[in-house]
Symmetry: C2
Subunit: 779 residues, 2 copies
C-alpha cells in the first residue's frame, strides 16, 4: 500500500508460532534488502527480546528501543486507526533519508495481540494494519508545514489619531484559535489563555524541523531621547504592512512589558529600563489584554524568590547546626533507607565524590557536601518584585527573633531584572533552560568557590515553576497579524532582547518566504550589539535585515538640541522647522558601517524638508534605503514603503559576522565593543574590575560573551554626550556575571534596577468600570 507521503509501506506477517530465531532470520533478510529503508517492529512485548532488537540495523530501525511501549499503544488503538507513534517513526525515516519514495516494512507477529486481536483472523488483522498505515500517513501529512490563510482585519484610520486604547477597542480581534489555524498551527500545539491569547508549545520546532526558516529582521534604534522613539510601534507597523498589504507571511516578536512602570510615570520607561510599555502593547489587540498576560513575569518572580528564600534559610541552618545534624536532615532516613536525591548526586559529582551510598562518605566529604559555606557578604542573588518600589532598593532582612541575629543587607530588583528573565530569553528549550537555571551562581563560599542554584537543591523546582513560561504567547496586531510576546530582560545588566524561542518558532511558521520582525531594546549600541553578539550567538540564527529607527526629534537632540525629559513640555526646537539646522550638525554613528545592509527609517512626520534631509544622510552613510513611516496614523498602510524596502534588503545576501570571537580574552572583548561600537579611545579598568576578570578566568568563565551595562542615552558613558562623541576613555567600574544566562556584564556607571513612583503616579487615572469591565487611564 502506498502512503501519500512518498513512502511505500509493506508488512510482513509472521505466524503465531514463530520462534525468536525465525524473527531474527526475517530481520536479517530485511537488513540486507536494499529496497527496505526502514523496519518498524510491531511485535508483542515477549518477542521484543534484546537479541531481536540488536539484530535490526540501527539505520533501519525506525523507532528504536521504545518499540516495547509502541507495541502496546498500537495494539490498544488499532481499532481507532490513529497511531501517532508509527506515524512519528515514519516521519523520522523521511527526515533521515530525504524525500524519495521509501519502503518501510512493518514486521508483524500475529500472536498475542491482546483483547482487540484475539480471535481475529490473519486477513482481518492485515486489513486493520492497512488502515493503521493509511491513517498514519494522513496523520503524518497533517504534521507537515501548512500554508497560511491569514485573514487581515480592516483598520479604520481616524484623524486626529485617537488614544491607543480607543483604537484597540474599535477592533474585534479574531479568536486566537482561528488565528492559530490561519498560521498553520495544529490544535494540539496551542494552549488558549482566554479568547485572544494562547501559549504555543515548543513541540512545533520538532514538527517543522525540516522547514527552512523565513527572513529574520531586527528593528533597532538610534540612541534615543528619554522619551523612547517607538521601535515597537515600527515592528508592529512593519509586520502589518508585510502581512496585510504585501500579503507576505510575517510575525512580530515583542518583549513582555513589566507591570511596574505601568503604574509609574507615563513615558518613563526609557529612563528606568528597556522593556516595552503598555503603550506599545496597546498596538496589539488589547480588549482582552490583561496586565498579567499569561503570567510569565509572575513565574519568574516566584522562581527568583524561591532561590532567595533558599539562600537565607540555608545560611541560617548551616550556622546553627553541626555537620552531622545537617547531614541527617539533608539525607534523612525514610523507612530506614537513606538515599541521595538526584540533585544531591549532581552536587556530589561537582565535589568530585563518586560515592553514592550516604553511609559511606568520610566526615570530610560529609562536611563539604552539607556546607555550601556561603559568605553572606558575597551573596549576589537579589529578591525581585514587579512593582516600582524604591524603598526596597536597600534593605536589611532577618531581623525577627526567629532568625537569631543573622541580619543581612540586601535589595529587591524589579522582576524583569532577574537573571531568570535573561535565561528565559536565551534558552532554546526546556532542557537548556533547566541546565541554565541549575548553573546560576548565587554567591560564593568563604573559600571563594561559586555556589549555584543546583547546590541549593532548587533547580528542579525552578524548572517546574518555569515550565509554562517557556512557551511564547501568541497574540495579534490590530490588523490581525500574528505576534509573539515573550520575555523582556533588562537591556543594561542583561541583553534586552525578546526570546530566542519566540523568534525560532516564528521563523518556522512564516516559512521560507516569510518575515519575522524582532526588536532590540535601547539604542543600537546596546540592544543591537547584544542581539548580534549574545542572542545570535546563543540561538545560531543570523539576521537578514536590520531596520534602524530614528526620529527627527532624536536626531535634532544629537545635533545639539536642548534636553528632553518625560513629563515636561517638548522644547520648541523640536517642533519648529526653522531649527532643522540641528540635523545638519549631526555626526554619524560609528557602528553603522559595521554590519549589514540596513534600511534606515524615520517616523512621526515632521516636515518634508527634514525628512528628505534625513533620508539623504542615511543613504550617504551606507543604509540600503531610508523611508518615512506613518504607521502611527495609518497602521500597516503607513509602513508599506518600509515593508518594500525590507523585502528588497532581505533578498540581498547578508554578510554577518560577530564583533569578537568567544576565545578573545575578556579585556579585549570589552575593548573591542568600546572602541568599535561606542567610539571610545580605550577602556580603563578599576582594580575591582581587574580582580573580577582574574577570578572569572580562573573559574573558567573567560569564554562568555560580554553584556555591557551602560547608559542608553549616549554612545559614551556620559548621558549628556550626544551625537557620536570621540576622545573618551570608557571606565569599567566593576564586573559581574550571569553564569546561568551565560554572559559577563561590565558596569559602566551605576545601573538602577528598581524604579520608583513619582508624587502622582499614573495609577491616579487608572480605573475599571465594574459594569462594562472597561479600563480607563492605562494609556
Amino acid at each position: 500500500m502506498a502512503g501519500k507521503i512518498g513512502l511505500n509501506v509493506t508488512q510482513i506477517c509472521l505466524p503465531r508460532e514463530c520462534t525468536e530465531d525465525e524473527i531474527i532470520e526475517e530481520v536479517l533478510k530485511l537488513n540486507e534488502d536494499p529496497r527496505v529503508h526502514g523496519v518498524y517492529l510491531h511485535l508483542p512485548p515477549a518477542s521484543l527480546t534484546s537479541r531481536v532488537l540488536n539484530t535490526l540495523r540501527p539505520e533501519k530501525d525506525v523507532d528504536g528501543v521504545s518499540d516495547l511501549n509502541v507495541g502496546r499503544l498500537v495494539r490498544g488503538d488499532m481499532n481507532q486507526g490513529f497511531i501517532p507513534p508509527l506515524a512519528n517513526a515514519v516521519m523520522e525515516l523521511l527526515a533521515r533519508h530525504g524525500e524519495q519514495r521509501k519502503f518501510v516494512i512493518t514486521l508483524y507477529v500475529s500472536e498475542d495481540h491482546g483483547m482487540e486481536m484475539s480471535g481475529v483472523g490473519p486477513l482481518t488483522a492485515a486489513l486493520r494494519m492497512q488502515n493503521v498505515v493509511q491513517s498514519s500517513s494522513r496523520w503524518a501529512q497533517g504534521q507537515q508545514y501548512r500554508p497560511w490563510t491569514l485573514r487581515s482585519l480592516k483598520l479604520q484610520p481616524l484623524s486626529p489619531v485617537p488614544s491607543d486604547i480607543e483604537i484597540s477597542r474599535a477592533q474585534t480581534p479574531k479568536p486566537v484559535d482561528q488565528l492559530a489555524q490561519e498560521i498553520g498551527l495544529l490544535q494540539e500545539e496551542t494552549e488558549a489563555y482566554g479568547r485572544t491569547k494562547a501559549k504555543v508549545r515548543l513541540s512545533l520546532l520538532d514538527r517543522l524541523r525540516e522547514q527552512p526558516d523565513g527572513k529574520y529582521v531586527l528593528v533597532a534604534g538610534i540612541t534615543p531621547t528619554p522619551l523612547g522613539e517607538g521601535k515597537s510601534t515600527v515592528v508592529i507597523g512593519l509586520v502589518q504592512a508585510l502581512s496585510a498589504h504585501l500579503k507576505l507571511n510575517s510575525f512580530a516578536c515583542l518583549r513582555q512589558p513589566s507591570q511596574g512602570p505601568t503604574f509609574g510615570v507615563k513615558g518613563q520607561r526609557g529612563q528606568i529600563s528597556t522593556h516595552i510599555s503598555m503603550l506599545e502593547i496597546s498596538m496589539l489587540i488589547n480588549e482582552s489584554f490583561n496586565l498579567h498576560l499569561t503570567g510569565d513575569i509572575h513565574a519568574i518572580t516566584a522562581a527568583n524568590n524561591l532561590v532567595a528564600a533558599a539562600i537565607d534559610a540555608r545560611m541560617l541552618h548551616e550556622a546553627t547546626q553541626k555537620d552531622k545534624a545537617l547531614y541527617s536532615r539533608l539525607v534523612p532516613s525514610v523507612n530506614g533507607v537513606r538515599r541521595f536525591s538526584p540533585i544531591q548526586i549532581s552536587r556530589l559529582r561537582r565535589l568530585g565524590i563518586s560515592e553514592i551510598d550516604p553511609s559511606a562518605l568520610t566526615p570530610q566529604e560529609v562536611s563539604s557536601f552539607v556546607r555550601l559555606d556561603l559568605d553572606p557578604a558575597k551573596v549576589t542573588w537579589q529578591r525581585v518584585v514587579d512593582t516600582n518600589d524604591r524603598f526596597l532598593r536597600k534593605i536589611t532582612v532577618g531581623q525577627a527573633s526567629t532568625e537569631k541575629g543573622h541580619v543581612r543587607e540586601t535589595q529587591f530588583d524589579i522582576a524583569v531584572a532577574s537573571e531568570i528573565m535573561a535565561i528565559l530569553a536565551l534558552a532554546d528549550g526546556l532542557g537548556d533552560m533547566k541546565t541554565r537555571l541549575g548553573r546560576m551562581v548565587v554567591g560564593s563560599s568563604r573559600s571563594g568557590q561559586p555556589v549555584t542554584a543546583e547546590d541549593l537543591g532548587v533547580s528542579g523546582a525552578l524548572a517546574v515553576l518555569m515550565k509554562d513560561a517557556i512557551k511564547p504567547t501568541l497574540m495579534q496586531t490590530l490588523e490581525g497579524s500574528p505576534v509573539f510576546v515573550h520575555a523582556g530582560p533588562f537591556a543594561n545588566i542583561a541583553h534586552g532582547n525578546s526570546s530566542v524561542l519566540a523568534d525560532k518558532l516564528a521563523l518556522k511558521l512564516v516559512g521560507e518566504d516569510g518575515f519575522v520582525v524582532t526588536e532590540a531594546g535601547f539604542g543600537a549600541d546596546i540592544g543591537m550589539e547584544k542581539f548580534f553578539n549574545i542572542k545570535c550567538r546563543a540561538s545560531g540564527l543570523r539576521p537578514n535585515v536590520v531596520v534602524l529607527v530614528a526620529t527627527v526629534r532624536a536626531l535634532k537632540m544629537h545635533g545639539g538640541g536642548p534636553n528632553v525629559s518625560a513629563g515636561s513640555p517638548l522644547p520648541r526646537e523640536y517642533i519648529d522647522e526653522s531649527h532643522h539646522s540641528l540635523l545638519q550638525s549631526l555626526q554619524l554613528f560609528p557602528w553603522f558601517p559595521l554590519w549589514l545592509p540596513s534600511p534606515w527609517l524615520l517616523h512621526r512626520t515632521d516636515t518634508q524638508a527634514e525628512i528628505d534631509l534625513v533620508c539623504q544622510m542615511a543613504k550617504e552613510s551606507g543604509a540600503s534605503d531610508a523611508v518615512p513611516c506613518h504607521h502611527w496614523a495609518r497602521g500597516g498602510r503607513g509602513s508599506v514603503e518600509l515593508a518594500q524596502a525590507v523585502k528588497q534588503a532581505g533578498s540581498q545576501p547578508s554578510h554577518f559576522q560577530f564583533l569578537y570571537s568567544q576565545e578573545t580574552p575578556i579585556v579585549e572583548k570589552i575593548r573591542m565593543i568600546a572602541q568599535k561600537v561606542y567610539g571610545a579611545d580605550d577602556i580603563e579598568l578599576s582594580p575591582e574590575a581587574q580582580a573580577k576578570i582574574d577570578y572569572y578566568n580562573q573559574q573558567g568563565y573567560g569564554k562568555l560573551p560580554i553584556c555591557m551595562a551602560k547608559t542608553h542615552l549616549s554612545l559614551s558613558h556620559l548621558p549628556e554626550k550626544k551625537g557620536a562623541p570621540t576622545g573618551f576613555t570608557l571606565p569599567i567600574r566593576d564586573i559581574r556575571a550571569s553564569i546561568g544566562a551565560g554572559f559577563i556584564y561590565p558596569l559602566v556607571g551605576t545601573m538602577s534596577t528598581m524604579p520608583g513612583l513619582p508624587t502622582r503616579p499614573c495609577f491616579y487615572d487608572i480605573d475599571l468600570d465594574p459594569v462594562t469591565e472597561e479600563i480607563t487611564g492605562l494609556f
Copy 2:
C-alpha cells in the same frame, strides 16, 4: 407569531409619515389593552421623544429609556437576525410577570431605518421583523438554564493506593470546554486557560438569576492534628459520589493552595496556615495542573505590593515637599487645565470639601487634601510574597541614599495572608470588590484618622489588577465532576473559606436538586464559625448540610494520645487498636448542638470496632448520621454512603441562625464566640485590645463581624489542650481590622504570617523531565 418561551409577540407597524401625536395615541391604546403585557418601542431615535417615553406605562415598558441605544442596535443587526437587546427585554418581561403566556407588542415605525431598511417595502420589513423575533426567542431560550449532561470518568481503583500524582496521571481529563458544556455553561461564559482549566464569567449570575439555588453543603473538621485531616479529599470524594454514582448534579468549591508551602515541608500546611495543599489539589486532574493555576495569587501579590510601594513613596514625597509643590504635582496642569481625577474627587468628598475647581481650594483645604500625613509607626499594610521566606518576617526598608534616611521597620507576609485575598473571597461582584479594595485601611495619620487605599489614589489600579482574578477557575475531579478553585484566605487573620462567588455560581449551575460542597479551613471552631458568621453574612447564602470530618487519629489525640508532628513517625497509639480506649475518654465538642443537622463522618479506615464506636458517639451527640468514608482508596464509590447521608440531610429543613447580631457590641461578640464555640469561661482584654475597641467604635467599625485569630490546634488558646477543655479564660492580646474585607480580628496569641523553609525543603525532590515534561516529587 408565537415564541417558544411562553410569549406571543406581535408588532404594530406605523406608517412612515406618522407624527409624534399618532405614536402617542397608539401607545395610549396599548397602555389600556389588558392583553398587552409589554411594549418594546422600536422607533427611530427622532421619534423617541421624552413625551413618547413618558406616555408608555413603566410596567409595560420592557426596555426603559435605553431604547434609544437599542433602536440603533436593532437596525444594525437586523440582517443577522440576532438581537440580544430585544431578547433581553423579553426575558426581563418574563422575569417580571412570571411564566404565563404574554403578549408583547413591538411598536414599529417604518421610517428612517438607516441603510438596511431604506428602499425596503413594508412586507419585507415585516418579514425581517418576524425573523428578528424568532431568533430572539431562540436566543432567549438558549439563555435559560440547561440540564446537565455530565459524563463521568471511570476510575481504576488500585491497591495498594498509589501516590496522588500517579492516580491523576492515569486519567485523561475531559477538555474543559466539554466539561463546561456538560454543566450548561454557554460558550461565551468561559475563558480557557490551557486545556483543562477555565475561568467562568460572572455574567452567569445574571443569566440564571431566576434559577433556584441547589443545596449548600459545608465540609468542616474537628480540631485537627498538625497533619491535617483531609477535609478537601472528603469534599472531592463526596462530589464524586454525588455526581458519578448518585447521578445528582454537584460541584466542589475549593480554596487555591499557596505556592510557598509546596516547596517547604510535606504535611506542614496545618502548622503554618490553612489553605489546602498541592496534595489535595492533586485529587483534581493535575496532568495540566501548574503551580500558578490561573494566576490569581500572583494578581493579589501585585495588587498588594502596589499599595505598599504607594505608601512608602507617598510618605517620602510628603516629607520632602511643601504643600504647594505637592499640590501642583498631584493636580498638574495639563495643556493649561488643572483637574481632579475621579479618585481625588472621592477623597475631597471624604474630607468634606465640595469644591471641585482645583484653583478654588483654600490653603487649609489644599493641605488636608495633599497630606495623608501617614504615621510611619502606624502603617499596618505589609508587603507579600508567595514564598516561604522567613528572613522577610522583620526587615528594614528605605536604606538606599535615594530614600534620604526614611528607613522604616516592616515585614512581608505570605501572599495568601493579604487582605486582598480575604476581599476576593468575600466580594460578590466586580463593583463590590472595587469598593472593598478602595476602603482598605493601610494605616492611620498622625492625628489618628484611618488612611485608605483610595486616599492613596490606587483603588482603580487595584481593581484593574484583580479584574480576572475575580472569576472562579473551573477544573474537574478525577472522575470528571466539576470543581471551582477560587481564593484561599488565611483562616486565622482572615476567614479561611473559599470564595462567595464560586459558591454562588456553582449553586446556580447545579440547579434546584443539585449539591454544592464547599469547605471551611482549620477546625470547625474556626473555619465553620467564620463560614457561618462572616461568609454567610456577606453572601446571604444559608447552608443546608454540614459534614464534620473526623479521623480516628485525631479523635485519639483528643482522647489523650501523644503529640503528632509533621515529618516524625506516627506514635503507635495511633496505629495499634488496643489503644482505642483513647476514644472512650473523648469529650464531646461544645459547638456541636449549636447549629444544623450534620452527618458526622470519619475516613481512613482504622478498625471496624473503632469505626462503630465513633459513629455511635457521633449520633448520640446529635449528628443526623455518621458514616465511614473510603474515598482515599476507592474514589467516589468510597463515599456513596456519605453522599446518601448528605442527600437525606439536605431534604430536611435547616434552622440556621447567626451566633450574634451585627448590632452586638464588639466585646460581646468576642465573648459569645469564646463561650459558646470555644467553651471558655470568659475573655480577658489587654489594655491595647480595649483601646482598639474604643477606636474602632469611634470610627464606626463596631458593626463588623469578628474574625478570631486563634490557634487551630485546640478549642482554647493553648495548642496543647486537646479535647473540649473548660475552665479557661481566653486572652485577647490585641485587635486588628480588615476594613476592606469587612471584619475585626482579635489576636489570641501570636500568629505567624510567614512560614519558613526547613533544612531539607521539599524542593530537593522536585524535578521536571525536559522531554516528557513530567513533574516528579511534588507529592
